[in-house]
């Protein structure tokens, strides 16, 4: 299953709930304000690293750029994809769950 999340983890509980519900091995794509969860050096870094050990984490590149977040400032292991990669992730997985 592909899980997408679009909320800042500092503002809303969507990232938390997504990580609680996603089964090991799932794809998780951070889009819109959820890309803020990908920044290294934050208070969430440990939690995201732990999640990344069980899940495949992605962040949407256009949303990172729009917000001025450089790819080299991301937590290790988070892969950046474009809208084409978003479509490919959705096609590849049998079901998509959007945590809003």
């Amino acid at each position: 299953m592909l899980h997408t999340v679009n909320k800042s983890p500092y503002e809303k509980n969507s990232v938390d709930t997504c990580l609680r519900m996603a089964k090991p091995g799932s794809d998780v794509l951070l889009i819109e304000d959820a890309v803020y969860a990908a920044i290294a050096g934050s208070k969430l870094e440990d939690e995201m690293r732990k999640a990344g050990a069980q899940l495949k984490l992605y962040a949407l590149g256009p949303d990172l750029k729009t917000r001025g977040i450089a790819e080299d400032s991301l937590i290790d292991g988070i892969q950046v994809v474009g809208y084409d990669g978003f479509v490919e992730l959705a096609a590849k997985n049998e079901c998509v769950q959007s945590w809003l």
């Binding site: 889009i31 809208y83 084409d84 096609a91 998509v96 959007s98």
Partner: protein, 130 residues
């Protein structure tokens, strides 16, 4: 592959409509089919032709209308949500005694069954909201 798209927020206030648009464009570029774009909740506000955004900004409504024309997209605005929020076509205006309508090109007003049907027909249902 067949994608169904649900847009739950209006233009500008939330990024949902922007992301949905970019996703649909990318999916079409890859040769996928878009079964339907369904606008629900405040998403119905994407379907008004009365917007005039600043010239240095994107025109979200027109962009949907143009994409729909180019790719023969079926763009459906939920009738119940539209009635609550004041999105009407000529028929709805007549039915409810309104003196104007505001639906934009390429959008049509229909029931929630169209959303369920999209979920049944599509291989993947994508939700963009707040």
């Amino acid at each position: 592959m067949k994608f169904g798209i649900l847009v739950n927020e209006g233009p500008y206030q939330h990024q949902a409509s922007d992301t949905a648009y970019q996703f649909v464009k990318a999916a079409l570029d890859q040769g996928h089919e878009i079964v339907r774009v369904f606008f629900y909740h405040d998403g119905v506000n994407n379907g008004t032709r009365l917007t005039t955004p600043p010239q240095d900004d994107r025109n979200i409504v027109n962009r949907w209308s143009e994409l729909a024309k180019e790719h023969e997209l079926d763009m459906v605005v939920c009738v119940a949500a539209a009635q609550r929020r004041g999105i009407v076509d000529a028929d709805e205006a007549k039915r409810h005694g309104k003196d104007a309508d505001n639906i934009a090109d390429g959008f049509r007003i229909s029931g929630l069954g169209q959303l369920i049907e999209a979920g049944i027909k599509a291989d993947r249902m994508m939700i963009f909201g707040d």
